[in-house]
Amino acid sequence: MSVLIFIDQADGHVKKSSLEVLTYGAKLASQLGVAAEGIVLGTVSDDIAALGKYGVSKIHHVSNNLLDHVDAQVYAKVIAEAANASGASIIIFSHNQTGKAVAARVAARLKAGLVAGACALPDTTNGFVVKKTVFSGKAFANVSINAPIKVISLNPNSYTTIAGEGTATINALHIAVDTPKVKVTAVNKVTGEIPLTEADIVVSGGRGLKGPENWGILLDLAKELGAATACSRPVGDAHWRPHHEHVGQTGVQIAPNLYIAIGISGAIQHLAGVNRSKVIVVINKDPEAPFFKAADYGIVGDAFEVVPQLTAEIKKLKAAN
C-alpha cells in the first residue's frame, strides 16, 4: 500500500500546484504509515529528484513524448497501470485543469472512490473521510470513501507547501503509451501573465471602473504587486477584459492569499468564485456594497482616487524593505 501523487508539468516545468499535492500526499502517507511516491509523465527539464524535499521517496517517470500533451484517455491508462504496478491504493491529483480532465478517468478505471475538490487532509481515524468544497465554496461536505482504492483531487491553494530535506530516487517506468486520439493543433498561452489559478495575489475589477480605457490604474497596481488580474462577469461579457479573467460561480474559481476587488458590488455569484481567498480587500464607493460583508479590509471611496494611491504606497513599502 502506498500513496501515489501525480506531478503535473507543462513545457517540462513542474507546476506550483504539484508542490502542494506532494506535500499533502506525503503528509497523508505518513499519517497512514505508508510510502509516498510521485509520478510524472512526459519530457521534463526540471530536476525532479529534488522534489524529494516535499516528502516523496521515489518518483516514477514515464518519459514518452506522446505524453507531452495531456490526453485524459492516454494519461488515465498510464497512471492507473503505474498505480497497480506500485501497489498504490490512494492517488492524489491537483484539482487544476489537468486534474479535472484526468483524475475522474483514473478513478473510473480503477473503480476507485473519488473526492474531487478536496480542501483538507482526510480524517482516517474512523474510515476515510475527506472534506471538500461544495456549493461553489459556500460550504463543505465531509465525504466518506468506501472503496479500497481512493482518488483525491486537491483544490489549488488550499494546502500549504512545506519543503524539507531529501532527494527522491527516479524510477524510469516503461509502460506502453497509446497514441492520443486527440490531436493538439495549437496551444495559446497567455504570455507574460501569471495564471489566475496559480497567483498568490489577484487584483480584480468590476463595472465600477466604467470602461476598458480605465483599466490602467488596476494594471499598474497588479504590476506593482506581481499579481494576476481578474474581473467580474459583466466586465468579461462586455469584452472590457478577456473572458478567461472572469471569476465567480460561472467563471474561474480562485483561492489566492490576497484578493483585491475594485468597483465590484459583491454579488453572491461573484463571491462564489473568490470566497476561498485568504484575505479580501474591497474598494467600493458605496458603503452598502454587499462585498464589504465578505471582506477583511475595505476602503469606502472612489477607485480612481484610491487605487493610484495604493500603488504608490506599495511602491514605498517595497522600497523600504
Binding site: 495531456v70 485543469q97 489537468t98 461544495v134 461553489s136 465531509n142 460561472t250 484575505v279 474591497v282 479590509y297
Partner: protein, 247 residues
C-alpha cells in the same frame, strides 16, 4: 447524429445555503431549483445549434434524479432537444451517477455526449471524465469552443494559463463552459412543445456507490471588515503587510 446532453438540477445561484438534521441534509426550504447553468447555457444550447444546422441531429437529455427534477427537465426540453430520459435515483456519488449515464450512453450509441463544466452544488467537474472512461472514448474537458465538421470535432479547451485547440473524431465526451454558446431564453412555442415531448423514466442499474456524504459544514463567519479611510491608504498597506502578512 445522436447527441446526449447531461442536465442536472441545482439550487438557484442566489440560494441561501443551510443544513438541517445536524448538518447532514441540505435545507431545501425556500430554494428555487434551476438547470445547472453550465448545462443550460452552454452544452444544451450548443447541441441545439448543431441541430439547427443539421436536421438529422437528434438530442436526448439525460438526468439522474428523482421526480422533483422533472420541472427542470421540461424547461430544458422547452429550450430544445427531442426527448429526455430520467434515471429515477438520487445520489451524490460521482461514479454512481456517471455509471448510470454511461449505461444510457452505451444503450443508445450516442456520437457526442455533452456535460457542463461542473455542477454548482457538488463542484466535482468529474462526471464527464468518468462517463468517457466507462465507455472508452476521448474526453475534452473545460471546452470553450466546439465546432463539428462531419464526424471530426475541433475543440478549444482551457489549460492552465491559456487554451489548447485540438481535433478529435467522434464519439466523444465534452464538458462545456463559457464560450461554447450563448445563453438562450425558452420561448412560448418551445414551452408548449416541451409538454408533449417524451420524458422516459428508467429505473437505475444496479451499481455500487463508492462514496457518500457524511455531513456538511458552513465556513466560519468572517470577523467583519476593517475599514480604512480613503485618505489613509498607507494604513491599509501597513495592515496588509504587518497584520495580514499578505504583501
Amino acid at each position: 447524429m445522436k447527441i446526449l446532453v447531461c442536465v442536472s438540477k441545482t439550487p438557484d445561484t442566489t440560494s441561501k445555503i443551510a443544513f438541517t438534521d445536524g448538518g447532514t441534509k441540505f435545507d431545501e426550504a425556500g430554494v428555487q431549483w434551476i438547470i445547472n447553468p453550465y448545462d443550460e447555457w452552454y452544452s444544451l444550447v450548443r447541441a441545439i445549434e448543431l441541430k439547427e444546422k443539421d436536421a438529422s441531429v437528434s438530442i436526448t437529455l439525460v438526468n439522474v434524479g428523482g421526480a422533483d427534477a422533472e420541472p427542470i427537465i421540461r424547461k430544458a426540453l422547452a429550450l430544445g432537444g427531442d426527448e429526455a430520459i430520467r434515471i429515477n435515483t438520487d445520489s451524490s456519488d460521482p461514479y454512481y451517477i456517471a455509471a448510470q449515464i454511461a449505461a444510457v450512453a452505451k444503450a443508445g450509441s450516442y456520437d457526442l455526449i455533452f456535460t457542463g463544466k461542473e455542477t454548482i452544488d457538488y463542484n466535482g467537474s468529474s462526471i464527464g471524465g468518468i462517463i468517457a472512461e466507462l465507455i472508452d472514448v476521448p474526453y475534452i474537458s473545460l471546452a470553450t469552443k466546439f465546432e463539428l465538421i462531419g464526424t471530426t470535432a475541433t475543440v478549444t479547451r482551457e489549460i492552465e494559463g491559456g487554451e489548447e485547440v485540438a481535433e478529435v473524431a467522434l464519439p466523444l465526451v465534452v464538458s462545456c463552459q463559457k464560450g461554447v454558446a450563448e445563453q438562450r431564453i425558452p420561448n412560448m412555442r418551445g414551452i408548449m412543445a416541451a409538454r408533449t415531448k417524451p420524458l422516459k423514466v428508467n429505473e437505475p442499474e444496479a451499481i455500487e456507490a463508492l462514496t457518500n456524504i457524511v455531513s456538511f459544514e458552513l465556513p466560519p463567519a468572517k470577523a467583519g471588515v476593517k475599514l480604512v479611510a480613503p485618505d489613509n491608504v498607507a494604513e491599509l498597506v501597513r495592515l496588509l503587510h504587518e497584520e495580514a502578512k499578505a504583501i
